[in-house]
Symmetry: C2
Subunit: 273 residues, 2 copies
Amino acid sequence: MESAPEEAQTQGREGPASGYTRWALKIEYDGTGLVGWQKQNNGLSVQELLEEAASRLVGDAPVMSATAGRTDAGVHASAMVVQLDLPCHERLDARQIRDGISFHLKPHRVAVLEAAAAAEGWHARFSALSRRYRYTILNRPTRPVMDADHVWHVRRPLDACAMHEAAQTLLGRHDFSSFRAAACQANSPIRTLDRLDVTRCGMHIHIDVEARSFLHHQVRNLAGSLHLVGSGQWPVSKLREVLDSCDRRKAGPTAPSEGLCLVGVGYAQDPFG
Amino acid sequence: MESAPEEAQTQGREGPASGYTRWALKIEYDGTGLVGWQKQNNGLSVQELLEEAASRLVGDAPVMSATAGRTDAGVHASAMVVQLDLPCHERLDARQIRDGISFHLKPHRVAVLEAAAAAEGWHARFSALSRRYRYTILNRPTRPVMDADHVWHVRRPLDACAMHEAAQTLLGRHDFSSFRAAACQANSPIRTLDRLDVTRCGMHIHIDVEARSFLHHQVRNLAGSLHLVGSGQWPVSKLREVLDSCDRRKAGPTAPSEGLCLVGVGYAQDPFG
């Protein structure tokens, strides 16, 4: 869970309401200027845009959605998986749903990449076995141009090898309280980090992370602390010390939202396969 | 030469005017909404933005610039090389020039990546030995989101291997009249293509091309014809037939500007090395 408490989820584990069919959608969005996935009254959310577009496709009938990852304001997704419950009587096929919703989403930077009828009992969030995020740093003196709003701009040269070495000490099952937002409402701070790779590609540094689920701000807090290792302000060994302290005040600041992108969600069976 | 006639160049081969020092700059720009490199009276150009920003850095003194590649409206550059003649008396160092001009270029999507004093006799355009462009196609049913304005969106599935095979038949020194814009004012249609690689990376297809110089619209015309091979409308052998015909009417349409990006300029000696 990257962003909001379980209780705020608009739907529980139950299947679609009577007269509705559940669809799995893979969506891409540019989070710039949006308040995040979740509907809020202070700005446009991905959920609101998606539900409104879907509703227009089905003659303004109400539709319900839930997501595998409730991303924060400014966070992007290249392959988010969501569920959408649509009235059965519309008899739309997967292609019509993909193209029709994408059409009604214009001119917003949100679009449907794939659609498929969901298997019995499938839930976008509760059936998900893994989430993958990529955090991207543009590491050069000059501000971003072609990838403005899609990277964290860090002027000071970073040592990606040191960052990667430190990252490996966090793999596995731990209490991640040190990297958890104060607002996080998860029941437990225990998470299992399956991947935390740091690689440099020219002036870009990619932090690729995978876990079954994440605490609120966990990826951005990890990126913020890895940055301190990369800039030499922390020795490699410090990251694990901070983890073991279970004290958020010991960790680095939260890295900005614009560098974060959800890049994949894993299920026992690929909903689009 | 990707875009404009030699005669339209604002400077000839001569060195900087008396009292001026020549600087080499590597710049990045997002061409969206700009009229291209060259100053024009119908909109904002990269050259106008760059010269105005540089002029502000040197107390509003006049400055002169020239580029290695005069890109068209909507075309991008990740590493364009330009020359800038600045008044000597300002005594700015390379870092002050890079950061100062980038500062004054805000909020436009143009910035200076590197600056270096130019060697005696160096000219951004006439000393250049090669230009490298990347043309990017997003090949999927759904419109672009994260890379909107930076790719050509092609819904129909393309065979990148067939495109690459056809591309190899154009390598070397040829009369490229079939891929030359009607407005091209180069003295000769003969060019030597050193590289024309087509590779698929997920839903993206990259066309990487390198030559000493290009005719007006040559890269976009090549991309437009390669697209016809990729979609199966042309057999692989057709591309070379079109080249040999030396007839622009035989070739495919010009691919849109937003997929094109200048990615490098080669010199006998790296001006920033």
